[in-house]
Amino acid sequence: MSVDSPSPAPAPPKKPLYEASTQFKHWRYSQESLADVRSKLNEAAVAVIRQTFEAYEPGSSSNVSFLNANEEHLLVTFYVTRITQLCGHFRFPEEVEATAATYLKRFYLKNTVMDWHPKNVMLTALFLATKTTNNPISLEAYTHNIPNTSPSDVLDLEFLIAQSLGFEFAVWHAHRALWGICLTSALQQLPSIPPDYAKSQSSVYDTALNHVRASRLTDAEFLYTPSQIALAAFSLTAPEIAQQWLESKQTLSESSPTKIGSGVLGSIETIKSIIINAGQRPETEAVREVDRRLRLCKNPEKVVGSKAYLARKAEEEKKAEERRSRKVASTGEGVDPFGDELDQPKPSLVDYDDDDDDD
């Protein structure tokens, strides 16, 4: 095939597909920026909630011990492990589990657990993930299998979650990259590949996959690419093969400008230590403690039945009422309600008259 063909668009230096993804463009952080996002979010949330407390009962916020960013994060991490449990229960594919975990973690880069409890968000994130990965299940079947959960518990948060994700549903996963590494390393004649590698390969994959799963409890996906995380997981399992596989890629890409330098090796080592150190289920006792405090410091406007909640609802109701009366006024008051009716368009499934007050 000729190289000088005019199409597809003669992109100058070839950019990896991954770099065109929303994941690469919008969900990549440094350690520092990630910590910064979380602490700012936490500070802002605490300020708002403190104000709410004060507004309804002056002085009531002084003895509330709000959660800090680390505590929020601990709780979210705990609920990532709950996703795993639920996926085991439903026998959802790896893709669903990984996607739901990412959704949950991304959600809490935009929201605080003091507004939205992760146990609820987790359920909706998982349900949404079944759909975005093309493994849909009916809502009824889903909630039927989860105790004390009604369909509306799941649906009520769906929009909020989709919005928080910026409607960016596609996620690139490390377990996919790992599968690729396993397939290609088996095909290549790497010197350290043992003669019976084909046999042991699936156990190498399984062990490495467990490291990838552990990485989901960490921030690795916000800091590194899926392929780097996969290589780190592979390297934790079969360091020599991983090293040679990486070298083989280097020779392949000799001619290209993107040489794999020591930077990658450094990253791999960092990811390995992240997986080893942070890739664990949080201590139940610590989680319980945070959750206990959360009950006291959560946003009262979001606690059904509380004074603040009722006040907010009343406020919303008032606004809606105003809007309705405005609409009535604008459509003409005093017109005979029995007149002109036949000229009205027939009601259709879509009520498009109802749209221009989307505020």
């Binding site: 597809p8 065109a20 759909k131 259709s348 499934l349 749209d355």
Partner: protein
């Protein structure tokens, strides 16, 4: 208001809805403008409240893929926001589609025009396939055209990622006339070749100005294909008789050269067409190979997009809109996004599974409930 809600409200403010230009069962399309630049846009509002399973699969697929795909020949999703229980997709404004253009008998297509549309279609498709995405609903009315003549793939409500080998997929995809034989035989493992078949059918339709393989039922569709291209032999398509829906046909049709029907086409054009309509999916040409096919390098060269034929209606609308913009006449009722001439035939999916699969009207019917094929 939460930060996320605020952000949503801010997004919403960036776009102004102007007038409703079309409606389907589950969605409404508005013409609108980007407030900051006055650029024309289309807003597709999908009602979510009525789905008992929440966000609908078609809407999710469309958003998921269009969020990732940015290419000159793929419709651009500019923004997404929600309002109450509606999901609003802000799309670039495209005022026509290839179906309208094909049906406009006043237009004459030069071979260079067809070549240009084909090149843009293959470019858009190659980009999808490069990103491991199957479109699964290519047909002339999903190929939209912009004011500058650029053609864009639209309607990703049936799209999906390539499946892993051994992973089953539904065969109830692609509108019948454009559906490849392997799907008609209920193959559950397939690949990007399904989209190529559709492009082949579109290519033929551009030359004939009528749908090439217009079967009137799913059963009849296969017969229509065999009649046009000859009944496949085991040699040219190994294993096809093992596919789930295979029945030994009562008549065996001979191969007739494409030349017999496509009398005016160049040899290169017929060669490429033939490669898109190869029975054996693995031997069908890929989008990338197609782009390198001699057809695209032979004289006449593809027309410049701005020189391509446009529907008279489309041109008139644009003139009306310009006028409207000048005197701010809000009463203009000119059709906007993809308005079809009344009574146009719609290519519809027919089996009940398909209706279930596409529970929202991703393609909005402007001429409501027209006669289906």
């Amino acid at each position: 208001m939460d930060a996320v809600e605020r952000e949503n409200a801010d997004r919403q403010k960036r776009w102004a809805k102007e007038q409703k230009v079309g409606e389907g069962t589950y969605a409404v399309v508005y013409r609108g403008r980007e407030v900051a630049t006055n650029r024309k846009i289309a807003i597709k509002k999908i009602k979510v409240g009525q789905f008992k399973d929440g966000l609908d699969m078609s809407a999710i697929r469309e958003v998921k893929y269009l969020r990732e795909l940015k290419h000159q020949n793929v419709i651009e999703l500019l923004d997404v926001f929600s309002s109450k229980t509606n999901l609003n997709l802000v799309l670039e404004f495209l005022d026509s589609d290839l179906e309208m253009i094909i049906k406009d008998r006043s237009l004459v297509f030069l071979p260079a025009d067809i070549k240009s549309w084909m090149a843009m279609t293959f470019r858009g498709l190659e980009f999808c396939h490069r990103n491991h995405i199957l479109h699964r609903d290519l047909k002339p009315n999903n190929l939209l055209t912009a004011a500058d003549g650029q053609l864009k793939l639209a309607d990703f409500g049936l799209a999906r990622d390539f499946a892993d080998p051994g992973h089953k997929m539904t065969c109830q995809v692609i509108t019948r006339w454009y559906r490849p034989p392997e799907l008609l035989l209920n193959a559950r493992y397939y690949g990007s070749a399904v989209d190529i078949w559709s492009v082949g059918c579109i290519f033929a339709e551009l030359m004939l100005r009528i749908p090439y393989l217009a079967g009137d039922s799913d059963i009849n569709q296969l017969d229509t294909i065999f009649r046009a291209l000859g009944t496949p032999t085991e040699q040219e398509w190994p294993g096809h008789t093992k596919l789930p829906n295979w029945h030994q046909p009562s008549t065996t049709y001979p191969k007739t050269p494409l030349r017999d029907l496509f009398t005016a086409a160049s040899a290169d054009a017929l060669n490429l067409l033939g490669k898109c309509l190869v029975y054996e999916p693995r031997k069908r040409i890929s989008a990338l190979e197609a782009l390198k096919h001699p057809y695209f390098f032979a004289i006449p060269f593809p027309s410049h997009p701005s020189k391509l034929p446009k529907c008279a209606a489309q041109v008139a609308v644009r003139a009306a809109e310009d006028a409207e913009q000048a005197n701010i006449d809000q009463n203009s009722t000119g059709p906007g996004v993809r308005a079809a001439e009344p009574g146009s035939r719609k290519r519809k999916l027919n089996s009940p599974e398909e209706f279930r699969a596409r529970s929202i009207a991703r393609r909005l019917d402007f001429a409501k409930q027209a006669n289906s094929p």
